[in-house]
Symmetry: C2
């Protein structure tokens, strides 16, 4: 009620969302996950904490939205070139996870999940929105280039795992150019095998 | 000096290690990662905190050793049956990560890594010891069953990712029988492709 009111009819201040999300990302990078509270975001963004609580139930949802907003649709629009499309998809996915604020938040969000009894952890939003984009890419691939017997969900899970590992255990994967290696692995999973995979 | 002394020559109390590791696992399950401190482990195990500090530099190393002790060698000894060996390997690996204490500790250890400047995070021990076991299995496979052009390290990274994802994002992978699916994916990665994977 009090966070806006610039004129007649109390227009909702639509900039609060953007300011809060930007302030959240800044605090995550500057002070870390634990220090990024609703109160500290409110102070940093110059808004009332009550305005944030009206938009996000807790700092967890706020941090999840600020750091994992979903893939850029333009970056993952399929062209029909399977390898090229996968390459852009993996790069966009990795970029989301390795942005400084996301890197600062990822492990904390996962730790919260482990102890939370919520049925649907907030940071799964990205996973959910990325999965159909991955399937769009496979559907756009030339006939015969994707084995029809392989489950796209299984391959997507492997890709998600490769990206999570890169983000959470950087020492394990820093030894080489990661995107091309991951694309190679995904191409192998998708390739028709002539019955080798039984 | 004072933590042992049952007889002449002050024999080191070798049970302290085991008692501390067991107490650590119990506290992780009962009270969670944050509450599992050197002091609380010392009280729970009935030993002096100083005896623990002589063995582990901090609670992080203690928790890592208690929860990720390495794979059971007998469970991953290769027999030459590639699919069967991979199945036992994945089961042993998943069992390590999904033990209640490991599940309670995994995200906290990863979160610690993200903020720690240590060059070598302690929980990578398991990864390091599992990687050569995986390579042993590939070496024991019948000739022609593993594509010589595929890098075992790349395949192992994919397997590690699949297991991490299952542990950290259980909602993402609970929908099916996981071990067999993961083994299928690894078999596809290893299978000779006749040049499809270029």
């Amino acid at each position: 009620m009090a966070d806006s009111g610039r004129g007649p009819g109390r227009p909702r201040d639509t900039t609060i969302n953007e300011r809060a999300l930007a302030a959240t990302r800044e605090l995550l990078v500057q002070r870390g996950f634990e220090a990024t509270t609703i109160q500290s975001v409110a102070e940093h963004a110059g808004v009332h904490a009550s305005a944030l609580y009206r938009r996000w139930p807790s700092r967890i949802e706020l941090i999840a939205e600020a750091t994992f907003p979903g893939l850029d649709q333009r970056a993952v629009e399929p062209t029909g070139d399977l390898r090229g499309d996968l390459h852009r998809f993996v790069r966009a996915y990795v970029a989301t996870f390795t942005a400084p604020a996301a890197r600062a938040a990822a492990a904390g969000l996962l730790a919260h999940n482990q102890t939370s009894s919520r049925p649907r952890p907030p940071e799964l939003n990205l996973r959910v929105s990325a999965r159909p984009r991955f399937q769009d890419i496979l559907r756009a691939a030339p006939p015969g280039s994707v084995d029809p017997t392989v489950d796209p969900d299984d391959v997507f899970d492997m890709l998600l795992g490769a990206i999570l590992t890169r983000v959470l255990l950087p020492a394990a994967t820093a030894r080489r150019t990661p995107v091309e290696r991951t694309v190679d692995m995904i191409m192998r999973l998708l390739a028709p095998t002539g019955g080798e995979g039984h």
